[in-house]
C-alpha cells in the first residue's frame, strides 16, 4: 500500500507531501492520521529546520473526504477532531511551516494552508471554504483563518463560501507569497532555504512570542470547533446537501 504522506528530508528541510493524487489529496481519516503522525515525528526531530507541506499531483488538497462517512457520525467526529489536532500541531512546531499550494486548496485543505506560517501559491489556484454551500459549518477553520486574515475578512470569506483565485487570496493575506505555477516548487525551495539559514532559536522564540500575542489557539477551542462542525454535519440540512452532491439520485424525468 502506498504511503499516504510522503516524507522527504534535504538540508534540514522536511517536505511532507499529501500522497493521494488520484483523489486530489482529499483528507480521508487514514490521510489525516498519517499527517498527525508525520507532524509528531517532525516536532521530535531536531535536525528539521523548516517544514514544507505540499500535495502530490495537480492539487494541494480537495478538502475533507466526506464520501463514506456522511452517515457515520463517529468516524466523522474522529476526522474533525484529528484534523483540529493537526492544526494545533502545525501551529506549535518550533520550526516555520510553509504551505506550497498548487491547483486547489478547498475547505479543510485550505485550513491547512492557513495554518502554516507562510503559504505560497500561484495566480490560477482555486482556494476557499465552500462549506456553507454544502450546509457545513467551517468551525475548525474559523479560529485559524481569523488569525491569518483578520476576523472581518474571515467572516466575509466563510459566510459567502465559494472559492477565490490565487491573486485574490494573496490580496486577502491567505497566501503570503505568489509565484508563477511553473516556478512554484523552486520558489518554495528557496523560501525554505532562506528560513533554514535563519537562527533556529530566534525563529522558534519569535514563533512562540507571536503565538502568545495572538492568544494561541487553545486545544479546548479547537475541540469545541470540531464538536460544533460534527453536530452541524449530522443535521438534516447538511445530510441532504451532501447526499445530493456525493450520491445524485437516478434521474427519472427526461
Amino acid at each position: 500500500m502506498p504511503e499516504l504522506i510522503h516524507i522527504d528530508d534535504r538540508d534540514g528541510i522536511r517536505t511532507l507531501s499529501l500522497n493521494r493524487p488520484e483523489a486530489r489529496n482529499a483528507l480521508s481519516l487514514p490521510v489525516i492520521e498519517a499527517l498527525e503522525s508525520a507532524l509528531a515525528a517532525t516536532a521530535a526531530d531536531p535536525a528539521v529546520r523548516v517544514l514544507v507541506l505540499r500535495g502530490e499531483g495537480k492539487s494541494f488538497c480537495a478538502g475533507m473526504d466526506l464520501r463514506g462517512v456522511i452517515d457515520d457520525p463517529v468516524r466523522m467526529g474522529t476526522m474533525l477532531h484529528t484534523l483540529a489536532r493537526c492544526s494545533l500541531a502545525i501551529r506549535s512546531l518550533r520550526v516555520p511551516a510553509i504551505a506550497c499550494v498548487r491547483g486547489a486548496a478547498i475547505g479543510g485543505g485550505c485550513g491547512l494552508m492557513a495554518t502554516c506560517d507562510l503559504a505560497l501559491t500561484h495566480a490560477e489556484a482555486r482556494l476557499g471554504y465552500p462549506e456553507v454551500d454544502l450546509g457545513i459549518c467551517p468551525a475548525v477553520v474559523a479560529p485559524i483563518l481569523m488569525r491569518r486574515i483578520g476576523a472581518g475578512r474571515a467572516r466575509a470569506m466563510l459566510l459567502t463560501g465559494g472559492v477565490v483565485d490565487g491573486t485574490e487570496a494573496h490580496r486577502l493575506g491567505l497566501a503570503t507569497h505568489l509565484a508563477p505555477e511553473a516556478d512554484l516548487e523552486s520558489a518554495a525551495r528557496s523560501l525554505a532555504e532562506r528560513l533554514a539559514a535563519g537562527g533556529a532559536e530566534a525563529i522558534a522564540t519569535t514563533k512562540a512570542w507571536l503565538a502568545d500575542l495572538e492568544s494561541e489557539l487553545d486545544a479546548q477551542t479547537m475541540r469545541r470547533a470540531a464538536d460544533l462542525s460534527a453536530r452541524i454535519i449530522q443535521g438534516p440540512e447538511a445530510q441532504q446537501r451532501l447526499r445530493a452532491k456525493f450520491a445524485p439520485p437516478p434521474r427519472t424525468d427526461g
Binding site: 456553507v132 450546509g135 457545513i136 459549518c137 476576523a151 463560501g161 443535521g235 440540512e237
Partner: protein, 283 residues
C-alpha cells in the same frame, strides 16, 4: 425592488422581500436631503426596525448550534441609505443647538448607536451594508456592524469625530474585529476618511462594484447567493464567529461606550461642536 411587505417608522423603512429574494429584508434609511443623519427620529426608526427584524429572524427562538432557523425566518438583511449618502453620522445641527453643557443629547445618541450596532450584529441573520457614498462616524459604525460591506469607489468611510471633541471609542470593538487592531487604531486616531478603493484594501469593505448604479444589483446578487447557502450552517457559522471575535461582548462594548461618554460634556465640547457645525460647508 420585488413586491414585498414594507413597514415605515419615520425616516426608516423595512421591506420583507416575498418573491425573488424570499428570506431577505431590506432596511433603508430614508432622509436623503439630510444625508440620512442620525437624530431622534432616525434612531426611533432604527430601533423599531431592528425589533421587527429580531422577530422576523426568530432571534432567541432557535439555537443555531443545535437547531435550524424556522422556514419562514429572515436569513439575510440588507442595510442601505436612500440618496447619495449611506449615513452622514450624528445630526450635528441638533447637537449644536442643545443648550445643556452636559450634552445629554449627544450621550443619548452614543448609547442608542451602541445599542443598535450590538443588536444588529446579534441578529441570527447575515447582514450586508450597501455603501454608495458617505458612511461617516455613526454611519460608518452602522456599516461595520454588518457581516459584509459592499461599496463603490465613490464611498467615503471614516470616523472624523475628534473635530467635535468626541472620542469614537464606542466603535472600537466592532471596527477592530473588522480590520484588525492596527488599522482600527489608525482610523480612529487620525479621523481619516477613506474612499471605496482604500476601504477595500483595508478590509472595511469586502467587495467593490464599479459605480453606484451597479452597486444595487450587485448587492441583490450577493443576497441571492447567501440565501442559497445552508441556513443552519450559515447561522451556526455566524454565531461561532461572533463568539470567537468577541466583538459584542458586553464588557468590551460597555467600556468602549463609557470611553466615548466620558468625552461628552467637556468644557470645550459644545463650542467645538458649534464651530464644526458652522464650518460644515467648507470641509
Amino acid at each position: 425592488m420585488s413586491a414585498g411587505r414594507t413597514q415605515a417608522w419615520g425616516p426608516v423603512t423595512l421591506e420583507l422581500h416575498q418573491q425573488d429574494l424570499h428570506g431577505a429584508a431590506t432596511l433603508t434609511l430614508r432622509d436623503p436631503e439630510r444625508r440620512n443623519v442620525m437624530g431622534p427620529p432616525l434612531f426611533d426608526g432604527l430601533e423599531a426596525a431592528i425589533l421587527q427584524l429580531e422577530q422576523w429572524t426568530a432571534a432567541g427562538r432557535f439555537h443555531p448550534f443545535s437547531e435550524s432557523p424556522p422556514d419562514d425566518a429572515v436569513r439575510v438583511v440588507l442595510v442601505r441609505g436612500e440618496g447619495s449618502a449611506f449615513c452622514a453620522g450624528f445630526d450635528l445641527g441638533l447637537l449644536a443647538e442643545d443648550p445643556d453643557p452636559a450634552q445629554p443629547l449627544l450621550a443619548s445618541f452614543l448609547r442608542r448607536l451602541g445599542g443598535c450596532v450590538r443588536r444588529l450584529r446579534a441578529l441570527p441573520a447575515t447582514s450586508m451594508a450597501v455603501v454608495q457614498g458617505p458612511a461617516l462616524a455613526g454611519g460608518c459604525a452602522l456599516a461595520m456592524a454588518c457581516d459584509l460591506t459592499l461599496a463603490c469607489p465613490e464611498a467615503r468611510l471614516g470616523y472624523p469625530v475628534h473635530a467635535i471633541g468626541l472620542s469614537p471609542a464606542v466603535s472600537g470593538p466592532v471596527l477592530a474585529a473588522r480590520v484588525g487592531a492596527g488599522a482600527a487604531r489608525s482610523l480612529l486616531v487620525s479621523g481619516e476618511i477613506v474612499d471605496g478603493a482604500r476601504a477595500l484594501a483595508m478590509g472595511l469593505v469586502h467587495q467593490l462594484a464599479p459605480d453606484p448604479a451597479s452597486l444595487h444589483d450587485h448587492a441583490r446578487q450577493v443576497a441571492a447567493q447567501l440565501l442559497a447557502k445552508g441556513p443552519r450552517a450559515l447561522a451556526a457559522t455566524r454565531r461561532w464567529l461572533l463568539e470567537l471575535d468577541g466583538s459584542i461582548d458586553a464588557a468590551a462594548c460597555s467600556s468602549a461606550l463609557q470611553a466615548s461618554l466620558a468625552t461628552t460634556g467637556s468644557p470645550g465640547g459644545r463650542s467645538m461642536l458649534q464651530s464644526a457645525w458652522s464650518s460644515r460647508g467648507r470641509r
